[in-house]
Symmetry: D2
Subunit: 462 residues, 4 copies
């Protein structure tokens, strides 16, 4: 008989945690958890305790005997864990506010995953992830690491390829959202369709066949600009050119709007910013009110308000993935894992986001085959951007960081981009020890952010 | 509602046909066939009729209303077919006798799939397969072609890559046999294990994991030299070196004994030949007696004697594959299909034999990833041998045929090999129109087989 | 003894022709030409005759007996030619004016080689080049085609890969200019340095070693932003970030400023446009005055004024390349030719611009090896852009043209880019027969250019 | 001004050394050597001193002031060396005798470079080469390592790829011999032809063009079976099939006879062995008599008898290569160096033998491009064999050694091959510390060579 399961969740103080708990409760019969350890850092201690108490109340309202333990001691949590989930945010939402405000102030995209913001999130996260993996090697060498810290693909590549932890799977909710929404627009259910995805995190395409093997990709393309056409709700629906998509005969993911409709997405984000600040600032408010709700000692279920926060299906994906491994299900999921040739135009050891079978031995990718020239070229430059980002994060090398900025299609190259890079380095100093020397040089040269909100955050030690 | 299914079986006069019929009968409820057309050539007319009548009796003994039609007119059979299965043998068993006798007389391996015999089978089959595909383009452009004519991988590559028929799947029973036999040796059932296969037809490896994701490949290796260790019954059990297999940590297929224990296999086959002639000669006798049995007008089930003929599970695989397509099952099968990157050290458009998901859209390969140097080098030379064989078959180019012979690891290169090539060309003249000119030159130079049995066959027009 | 050489120059009416003639005169002793055929189209007839007469006067002023023949009959010129040079411009400078004005009016880069303009030049040129190659197959099947029609890399790829003419070499003066200027900045001569170039036309890098094998790339980087640092005079010197270049440790070509300093280059080109119109308009004036000079019946040398026109060393490169082939020189030149593995991250049959040995058998590339992630990703997207451009040009497929626009890093993607595409299609209607249907649809929808200069050109039938 | 050159020759006691000295004397004016250090091991001390004295006499007979120093202290010799040449033989000729006798006694090819013998030479040499490179990193970090220890390609791959010494070039005389002999057979001189080689050491092909760019490969093929057709004198001229070569349209190297005419080569080598023992035994005698000659205190030139020993042009190649580096010549030579894409079907970082430009920065390969299926498959299996050999040599892993044996096309696989492996391990115990454990196990199981000559050698401590 298999032993009871220990889960360790790094960044356990996240407002998402109740969703994860709900997912585990729903699956308890197939996934007999005994302990859930929620870990966080000193700065997140208050939230961790609030959410920890709610989580325990949620379990206590079920017939199952599951203990929730909160801790600031990561090693204690990792000890003998079976599954480690990572959902932490180095520097919390304040760091994201800087990631978004500074590019937008320079009229560049302030987007936290694939733009300048995403690269800085990687710069901050990768050194911490390295420490986590080192702890795991010592404390739970057989555990699976289920990562949903963004930029999920980049972090997963660092973990698998650079830190050598093979039992890692990166998750994202974008493919789930597409599979939840698209079938309806052509009057089908997801179970009637064969989906195949391939690409990189936030940069993948898919094709769809019906139960007779007839391709319905083209039909779905015709609905892609509709509200329920498959794009996540948090992405502005700048119109895709249907002629472009039909010539590819592939369905792009929602994030492709940033690439194929770059101008409209940039203009819209600047407009939104000028109206109401960044998304991170809005989320900070939402989060504050969520934690007020979580405090209620009578609350013992996931509150409805969480649903609206976005990030839907993330925890669903995580729980399902864990269960598929534990129960050797062999089901189809779209995750970040090692290529192994599934996309032949990328290296075999690169991390990609791809349709996989999830079973006891982890994720096995389903081969996609040759890409057309258009998708291939785009994919290759994005993977190169990811590689430069990881190298810069590991080496703390400013020149390589400049390479990452210069190769990112969402950044307009030149002196202004360099300014954005320099300001972001300086404002994130606390979380970028690897760039210490360069930051000190930049500060001597007087580099700083002139934005009052950023200045305020920094004054308050964030 | 889906329409009733029409099957066309090329080489329908084969002694295997009752097995195929049995497979269809077992699956009638999920696979509602209405007509099975058995096609053959003039030379096989008598057998065709015998087996056709048996097939009809088999159906008549069921509650299902299925018509079996025999014909020498391929076009009539192909018209509007949904699935076409190919199991023909150009030149019948007499051709195989020549394929096996001539190399053995020169003390080379007389083996009908990967040796000189297999190459000649390809030379004879490819031109006929080309005509079949041309007919299909005209008469049943949406049909699936399920090939189990050997050398299955080479023929499937010709069909997909050279003749452009994408809806083709090549089948082989070797992986099925491994999955049927191996689990027992470690006290497991196949449903408890995750199998992953990759390679080429008759030249693949696999690895196996249990339901906890623990690799059990090494355990299975320890049993591989046992009688029920996974090797097909028709392959001599020349010992594998366990130290070699453990250092690879992969399970080779039964045919790998020809490569890893070349000397023992060669010696054994010469010994067998000297004792009792070739396997083809034995099979010719077996077949004659089978057809005697088939003639019995009271026989309306697959006779037990067929089981012993070898080639077990072939028809099982074919029927299951057809049903998986028809019913969009998404199950795991090991078939020959387009690589699509699943084995990154081979071209994306090469045909490989690989673990696939079989669904309405056909076979989708599961990515295997990097091979070790040893497997990689072997695989690449075997694929090169296949490519040279196909080129020679298409072009009728003698120099390229020599390349195929020279690169085949089972042939000792040099003047003797050239003699084998020359004699085989001459004795197969009737079925090698593409080599016409060269054969005529060889005959002028007096090339012939001195073997009396071959001479007799030829005298009788075979 | 080798026979006397016949040269055919397509686009012979170009104002550059006297430079080519001068190059041939200088090399007459090693390259004994007997006839030079200058071919042009009806629209260029007047210029052709002016330049033809000048060319003949230039030869007559030498001791060599060389005949210059002008013709509108391409076939006559190609008949038995030994070398064909292509320097034509479909639609003449008026087409270039449209290529540059329309993007700039939409505040996009109006650049005739790698931006929207370059893609349209390819759309217009490729169908004509196809006809030329067809003529050559018939009339001069052993001739070398020396192409310097821009976009030179794209055109050369179409000729070699799509039209199957292997004996084609694409030329560009950018590497020549770098090798002419750079050595001086570190006090060296080109003969003392080992240069190695690799990449694509207008998108390559180089590294340099001195005669002791010591790399001097870093020293040259430090001077790259100087006026004589290696960038062609016609490219605005938007500053390269030296930190970026040192981290790559490669010297980019001048055109990389459009990519690495995109914002500054775009702003500068808009500024220039608002001040003085496009470069094409300026060149049209320069050209008119050049032809006035060429008319002078006493002129029998290349006039000084031509030097200032830009495009320096182009003809030098062409004549040297022809001589290197004719005389089997085995010298180093940087040309567009088939990759053959020299840049492993691109397909072996792609056309690249690379350091080669030029000998009687043509251009043999010198292997460069692995690129860093940054260069690799950039190179791969640019090659994908080239491939999409060629596909669109061959197929007249609007969706693929949109792909080409969307993947081009110099185009801001979205609705505005689509407008530029649509307008360019409409204004170039005369030279884009392959897009006929789409253009007619666009015109029905009222697409047109609102620019008065473009409108005037079109009114006058250009 | 460049400083005077210090040469260090590992294995300086070789009978070939006078040839090397002669090469340096001939080039003194372009290659101003001041010191030549000849290093050897204790076992070779006597020979080292004899040859050292001869070498000094040779220099003393010239006007040049060059010192020859002999030493058993490798570190002393390497200190500040500019060029290190390696020509040592671990275990001397006695080891080669075992390499050749044992396979031949089992009726397998006893060939010291590509067969079992070559693999064992690699097993013995690689650990020593590792120490040499470690010393060089410390003592002469800027030196060039010119390797002609066989198997030259394998050793060079270990040095560059595994030990990280990039400034290494591997030499072989086979291409030189081809270029020396072939041109005459078609009435040409080498300077009139363009040669291009590609492949692996002792497994390469070439194609040849004349000064008009016309390919003459086919003409040379027609003469390849002649005595002066390009094959080294020490290789038996088992006939190549011209039809095979014409269909490839490539000239194989002499060693390809072992692969394309395997049977004849094997039979011939067994016959020779039965008549007169191994080549190594013959060479041991030749060597003994050479050293008698070298002792003559009046001898001060390379004696004629050395010419006959074979290995012609080796030293010529080494001296020319060193001079080409020193003088930045940029000449064509065929050497073992990093692929860099020149042969696209092999990894970019593999070592290949290829036409290169040799200049101050070392060897730059000339891109060859795609291979045909036949050459490609063969090349890939040979590279895999090399990789397995190196892995086995580095790891001392018996399973991997079995892989190397099983993938080698010149070894008939199976139990007999395993016996050869086992016996060779046991008889070479002294030089195979990495296999210590396995050898001790084999000895316990009673593995030994029953050959009296091998037994004698071992009794005498060899």
């Amino acid at each position: 008989m298999k032993k009871a399961i220990k889960i360790a969740t790094i960044g356990g103080g996240s407002s998402y945690t109740p969703e994860l708990i709900e997912g585990f409760i729903k699956r308890y019969k197939e996934l007999p958890i005994s302990e859930i350890w929620l870990v966080d850092v000193e700065d997140g201690k208050e939230k961790l305790e609030i959410v920890g108490r709610l989580a325990q109340r949620m379990w206590d309202a079920t017939p199952y005997n599951v203990k929730v333990i909160t801790t600031l001691n990561r090693k204690e949590a990792l000890k003998d864990a079976d599954f480690v989930t990572t959902q932490f945010r180095v520097g919390l939402l304040d760091a994201r506010i800087k990631d978004e405000r500074i590019p937008l102030l320079h009229r560049m995209l302030g987007q936290e995953t694939n733009g300048a913001g995403g690269m800085f999130k990687a710069f901050r996260t990768i050194p911490v992830m390295k420490e986590i993996v080192e702890d795991m090697k010592e404390l739970c060498p057989d555990a699976w690491l289920i990562n949903f810290t963004n930029p999920s693909g980049i972090i997963t590549e660092a973990v698998i390829k650079h830190f050598g932890w093979k039992k890692c799977i990166g998750l994202c909710n974008v493919p789930v959202i597409a599979m939840m929404n698209e079938p309806k627009v052509i009057g089908k259910q997801v179970s009637e369709l064969n989906y195949q995805f391939a690409g990189l995190n936030h940069f993948h395409w898919h094709k769809v066949f019906d139960e007779d093997g007839i391709e319905v990709t083209g039909q779905l393309i015709d609905h892609i600009n509709e509200k329920n056409g498959g794009t996540p709700a948090n992405i502005y629906l700048a119109e895709f050119s249907l002629e472009l998509l039909h010539s590819m005969n592939l369905l792009p993911c929602g994030y492709h709007r940033y690439y194929y409709s770059e101008k409209e997405m940039l203009e819209h984000s600047i407009e939104e910013f000028e109206k109401g600040g960044t998304r991170a600032e809005q989320m900070k408010e939402v989060e504050a009110s969520l934690f007020e709700i979580y405090k209620n000692p009578n609350l013992n279920v996931k509150p409805e308000e969480l649903q609206k926060r976005g990030g839907a299906y993330y925890s669903e994906a995580a729980c399902e993935c864990i269960s598929a491994i534990y129960n050797n299900k062999g089901i189809h999921m779209v995750v970040s894992t090692q290529n192994n040739g599934a996309i032949p135009c990328l290296n075999s050891d690169s991390i990609i986001e791809i349709s996989c079978l999830i079973s006891a031995k982890g994720a096995t990718p389903i081969a996609w085959g040759k890409m057309g020239a258009f998708e291939k070229g785009h994919l290759q430059i994005m993977k190169a951007m990811e590689e430069c980002t990881i190298s810069a994060a590991l080496l703390g090398d400013y020149g390589v960081a400049l390479q990452a900025f210069t190769i990112n299609p969402l950044i307009q190259k030149g002196g202004e981009a360099k300014k954005v890079l320099d300001e972001l380095l300086v404002v994130h100093e606390k979380y970028l020890p690897q760039f210490k020397e360069k930051i000190s040089e930049l500060k001597k040269r007087g580099v700083e952010s002139k934005d009052s909100i950023v200045a305020d955050l920094m004054k308050n030690g964030h």
